[in-house]
Symmetry: C2
Subunit: 312 residues, 2 copies
């Protein structure tokens, strides 16, 4: 888990150099986020040890770091040092980790596996997992408050980006409707609400946060938010497709768990073909917003197409 | 629940007038906090309705509002308009409500009653209660970011006060050790850690937040924090004594639940007499810190003595 020894300055160099191959750029971004998380999370031995171990277990678990990398990449696409977005990127990933820990709990989605390993509540017990999730959410807000918020944004703008996106009319609202939908007939409006709030909202937030950290104007922050929203919708549709079509070993979580839990998904509502079309449509819309953003879009375009390539 | 119709300007007047009787002053403070919460919490009809209803149910439930009133009273004791501390006071109470919702869950303390009514998870189900708690924590951080943070404090100071006090080395750490202690032999050092972090930390935070909102210097913020820490320790010892000695109807929660849950408490460790002595000692220390704070201490002294009077 300890990646402090990794040569982070070289990761930053690889992330910003224009000639880095895409796969290496992605790995460098992941390493930047990973080492910031490892450095900032409380050490595992700190009292209460079980809580801090659970927080590190839930966070440093081999995630793709899409949200963190997006914040760094948006900041860099605006010509600013991505290091400005590093602490906010870690906050986004700590927040995301909290949502996964709570979503996996028995009273929620009741998933025992996460990325091929026991879920946090299986490893540390339900109470400690619940508390570790609470602590990661709290820490994410703390890190957003500790990060520098450059002009023209008011102080607190980064905290507000996260808490508004992550709150009851955002990520938590989406999860609430997702659980409620298990007992209701399939409904397109509800599915769009769930995908928009539960998944796309935090991905859009990551893009907005990268733009705020770069000191972009409010209109540009909004454009990146729209880019992220469409990217997030494409991402969630792809996730639904993969859950329905791939094996447990590839997914790192039980395959077909959506169907088993009677989840409302694009696949259950639209079938595979229309789902693939919608993923493509949102990918195209995401890229169209990028082109409006007056940035250096190369890396973000490549990242956007890379995500879609998972099903093509 | 709707207290918007209440004459809040007159509550502010009653709270600040020097000749208001103590009981009326306390009621006015409670009304100020209550109406700020009611005004700021999302309306119950907003999607997802069950989530917003659960958030309001968990928060607007007849609490004493000790933490919110402390923030207002500290701000006022420094000669500043307590309205400056009103949004932070609501944030403290939303945070406190989240801790109660999560603490009552089956995997934690498994309490079915809270203030004489069904706990949030009994009324709305476990998943919705968990999510309502998450949303209240998120909203508390949002409100701290939205509140004005006056000089000499850096932007974000109010968010940092809450997140550092409420995180894994604060309130959440205390709850983690409290649960672990159920399976361990009684231990004085552990009990002090639990009382300090689980209870006294947020009460100290409330006092610090009131001083920050008043624009007090860092040394004075610390003095109010020490006042709050001793007040919080006295408060928790009193709570242990009341749990051991009073009936369910008076407590609004099952009497003797600490003993039934094998909780480590002052009463189980020290017995009643020494517990009463310790409550008195921390009350005296709290008042000694008040005297050092160069404030107008009358209301805070009365409030501190009022809390102790519950067992005398």
């Amino acid at each position: 888990m300890n990646v402090n020894a990794a040569p982070v300055p070289s990761a930053l160099q690889a992330f910003t150099a224009p000639d880095t191959a895409f796969a290496d750029w992605l790995a460098a971004g992941r390493q930047l986020v990973e080492s910031e998380l490892d450095r900032r999370l409380p050490p595992a031995g700190l009292q209460p040890a079980v809580l801090h171990e659970a927080m590190r277990y839930a966070t440093l678990n081999g995630g793709k770091r899409l949200r963190g990398i997006l914040a760094l990449a948006v900041c860099e696409s605006l010509g600013k040092d991505p290091a400005r977005a590093l602490l906010p990127a870690a906050a986004l990933e700590a927040f995301h980790a909290y949502t996964l820990v709570h979503d996996d709990l028995p009273c929620m989605d009741d998933d025992d596996l996460r990325r091929g390993k026991p879920a946090t509540h299986i490893r540390y017990g339900e109470a400690n997992a619940l508390l570790a999730g609470d602590a990661l959410l709290t820490l994410a807000c703390q890190w957003m408050a500790e990060a520098v918020t450059p002009l023209p944004h008011p102080p607190g703008a980064l905290v507000l980006e996260l808490t508004r996106a992550g709150g009851s009319t955002g990520v938590i609202g989406g999860q609430t409707e997702d659980l409620a939908a298990e007992d209701l007939p399939p409904d397109e409006a509800r599915l769009l609400y769930i995908h928009t709030e539960k998944t796309a909202r935090l991905i859009a937030c990551a893009c907005r946060v990268g733009a705020v950290a770069a000191g972009a104007c409010a209109a540009k922050v909004d454009t990146f938010g729209e880019y992220g929203r469409h990217l997030g919708l494409a991402f969630q549709i792809l996730d639904d497709i993969l859950d329905a079509t791939q094996a447990t070993a590839i997914l790192g979580k039980p395959a077909g768990s959506d169907a088993e839990n009677h989840k409302l998904t694009t696949v259950s509502l639209w079938g595979l073909d229309k789902s693939r079309d919608e993923a493509q449509r949102h990918t195209d819309l995401a890229i169209a917003h990028l082109e409006k953003a007056q940035c250096n879009p190369g890396r973000l375009q490549a990242l956007t197409r890379h995500l879609l390539s998972r099903i093509n």
